[in-house]
Amino acid sequence: MKNLIQCNQLEIGYSSKTDGSKRLFPVFDLQLNAGELTALVGPNGAGKTTLLRSISGNLKPISGKIFLMQKELQYYQAGELAKIISIVTTDKIVDNHISVFDVVATGRYPYTGFWATLSVLDKEIIFSCLELVGMTDFSERLFHRLSDGERQKVMIAKALSQDTPIIFMDEPAAFLDYPSKIELMHLLQKLVRQHQKTILYSSHDLDHVLQTADRLWLIAQGKPIQTGIPEQLVLDGLIESYFTRAGLHFDAEKGKFSHTFSGKKKIFIKAEGINGIWLRNALDRKGFVESDDSQCELKIEIIDQKFHLTIKTKIYVCIKIEEILIQLSEYEKAD
C-alpha cells in the first residue's frame, strides 16, 4: 500500500452561520505516502492546523472525500481510528500531578478494556516507547516539571505507544531550542527509517524542513497545494513564491531567506576555512555582497591568521571580526 491517505477533490476550511463557509485552498487532491517523512510547510496562518485536523477526522471537510487505507475516513469508528492515526499537538496539558508514565499510558487506552487496566505487555510497550525517545529515566517524573523539549518527546512516546502506522504532528519543533530541534528531526527520521512509521508534521521553519523531510506539502492561503521532494520545489522556484513577502527573498543557493537591502556595498574577500565562513556571515548580515573584482574599493584578505582590510588605499590589520565591522561602519558613515 503506497498511499495511506488519499484526498479527492477536497475542500477544507470553516463553515460559519454568519458569513457562510470559508474555504482555505482551491479544491485539491493529495496523498500521503507510506514510509515517508512528509512536512506540511507554509507561512503562519496558512491553514496547516486546519489541514491536519481535516485529514485526521477531527474537522469535517466542506466537500470532497478522504480515504484512509482505501476506506472513507467518515466510516471509521473513533476507537478504530485511534489505532491508525496518532497525533502530537501544541496543546498544553494543564494538570500538575500527571506523571510521564501516565501520559504515555494513555496511548494504550484504545487497546485496554473498560477499566483501562494495563497488561504486562502494555507496560512493556510504554517503557520501550520511552526508551525510543530517550526518556526512560523520566517515567516517574511529573509531566509539568519537564522542559518543552522533554514534554515534546513524552508526547511522541505517547503517540508511539498508540502503535499507529501514521503519526501527525502539529508544529512539533515550535517551542524547542536549536539543539532540541535537531534532536527531534533525527528522532523523526529514525522513526520513519527504522520503525516503518509514516509521519506528517507541520512546520513554518523552512531550514529544518529542507534538511529533513522526504516530501513537502507546500501551502499558502488561497494558493493551490504543491507537493514534491524539497529539492525539486526549491529548483522550481515554488518555495520562493509561496513564502516571499516584501523585503525578503529566498536564496536558492543557501536554502535560506534573507533581507533584500537596497544599495549593497561590494567587497572582495579572500579568506578560507572557518574564519572565512564566519567573516562572510558577518558581512552578509551587515548588508555587504561579495565581489569577484580584486580591484574593488573594499578588500579583505587573511594573512597569517589576521584580517587585512583594505579601504580605498588604507590597510587595517584586524585580529577580530568586530574590528573589521567597526572600520567598515566608519567608512560607510564617511561615505
Partner: protein
C-alpha cells in the same frame, strides 16, 4: 497494580474515617459517657436513659451517615468538574445546580409561606419533605438546562461560561423571590442556606444513602474518560473518546450527586473544591483510578471532621456547617498549595 505506598495511605485514611465516625457518635453538645454510647450502639439499652438513646440513634447516627455520604458525593462531584473543565478552581456549584436548589426552596417558601423556622428543627415532617423535594426539583430544572446546552455545545469552556451565567440568573431570581417574601420566610431561607447535616431523618436515610451510592458507582464508570480528558479535548478525541457524550455523562452524574446532597443538607461549600486537591496532593497522582475512591474517602473524612467541630461541646446546638467547611477547608487548600509551591521551587 497499585503501589504499596498508596495502599498504606488508603489504610491510614480508612483508619481516620472509622475514628471520626465514632467520634461523631461519642461527642456532641450533650455529654453522654462512652460506655453508654457503646451500649446503645450494640443494642443493650439497659441502664441508659431514653433521651440518651434517642439522641444517639435518632440524631447523632443519621447525622454522621449524612455527613459521610454528603462529603463523599460533593468531593467526587468536585473532582469530576475540575477534570472536565481542566480548572482547579471549579466546584460542584459552578454550573448553578446548587443555586437551582436554592431557587426551589425560595419558591416553596414564597408560595406556601408555610416554612417557618420551626420546620428546621425536624418537627414538621411535611415541611421537611417539601423542602427536600423543592430543592431537588429546582436543581433538576437547572441540570436539565445545562444538559440540553452541553449536548449542543460539546465544548467544555463554552459550557463553563454558560453554566456560570445560569448560576447568576438563578441567583438573581432567588433575590427577586426574596424581595417579595415575608421577613420570617427570608430568615428561614437564610437558615437553610447555612447548611446542615441534621436534616436527614432515619426514615429518609436509606433513600439518601442509596441514591448517593448509586451516583458514586456511576462516577467510577467514568474513570477512563476522565483520565483521557486530562490530556485535553483533541488528544482525548484522537484516543477514541466521544467528548460530547462523555461531557453529558459527567455533567449528569455530577448534577445528580450535587442535587441530592443540596436537597437534603442545603448548600455545603468548599468540600467539593478542597478534597480533590487533598487527594491529588496526598496520593501524588492524576490517575482517576486512585483519585475517585480517594476523594470519596477524604470527602467523608473532612465532612465528619467539620461536623464534629460544628457540634463541639460548649455550643448550644450545632454551628452552621456551611461556615465550618469553609473555615476549615480554605486554610487546608492554602496550606497544601504553599507546600506544593515550595516543593516545586526546590
Amino acid at each position: 497494580m497499585v503501589p504499596v505506598r498508596k495502599i498504606w495511605i488508603f489504610g491510614v485514611i480508612t483508619g481516620f474515617l472509622v475514628l471520626l465516625f465514632f467520634m461523631n457518635l461519642f461527642f456532641g453538645s450533650v455529654i453522654i459517657p462512652f460506655n453508654q454510647v457503646i451500649r446503645v450502639l450494640i443494642g443493650n439499652i439497659n441502664g441508659t436513659s431514653q433521651t440518651e438513646t434517642l439522641i444517639i440513634l435518632n440524631f447523632r447516627l443519621p447525622q454522621t451517615y449524612t455527613a459521610l455520604f454528603a462529603g463523599a458525593a460533593l468531593a467526587v462531584a468536585g473532582l469530576m468538574m475540575q477534570t472536565l473543565f481542566r480548572n482547579p478552581l471549579v466546584d460542584p456549584s459552578i454550573l448553578g445546580i446548587s443555586s437551582g436548589a436554592g431557587l426551589g426552596v425560595a419558591l416553596l417558601m414564597f408560595f406556601t409561606g408555610r416554612i417557618g423556622s420551626e420546620a428546621f428543627a425536624g418537627a414538621d415532617w411535611f415541611g421537611h419533605i417539601g423542602l427536600t423535594l423543592s430543592a431537588f426539583l429546582g436543581s433538576l430544572v437547572v441540570l436539565s438546562l445545562i444538559i440540553f446546552i452541553s449536548s449542543r455545545l460539546g465544548n467544555a469552556i463554552t459550557l463553563l461560561i454558560v453554566g456560570i451565567m445560569i448560576a447568576y440568573v438563578v441567583g438573581a431570581l432567588v433575590g427577586l423571590v426574596k424581595y417579595f417574601s415575608q421577613k420570617e420566610d427570608i430568615y428561614a431561607f437564610a437558615i437553610w442556606g447555612l447548611g446542615s447535616f441534621s436534616n436527614v431523618g432515619n426514615s429518609q436515610l436509606p433513600l439518601f444513602i442509596g441514591t448517593i451510592v448509586f451516583g458514586l458507582f456511576l462516577s467510577l464508570l467514568m474513570m477512563k474518560s476522565l483520565n483521557l480528558m486530562l490530556l485535553g479535548e483533541r488528544y482525548a478525541e484522537n484516543l477514541g473518546l466521544n467528548i460530547r457524550i462523555s461531557t453529558i455523562y459527567i455533567v449528569l452524574i455530577t448534577g445528580f450527586l450535587t442535587a441530592i446532597v443540596t436537597a437534603y443538607t442545603g448548600p455545603v461549600a468548599f468540600l467539593g473544591l478542597a478534597v480533590p486537591h487533598l487527594a491529588r496532593s496526598i496520593f501524588k497522582t492524576a490517575d482517576h483510578k486512585i483519585l475517585l475512591p480517594a476523594s470519596m474517602m477524604l470527602g467523608g473524612v473532612l465532612a465528619l471532621f467539620c461536623n464534629l467541630v460544628a457540634r463541639l461541646p460548649g455550643f448550644d446546638g450545632s454551628l452552621p456547617i456551611n461556615s465550618i467547611t469553609s473555615l476549615i477547608g480554605a486554610p487546608i487548600v492554602i496550606w497544601f498549595i504553599l507546600k506544593h509551591r515550595n516543593f516545586s521551587a526546590s
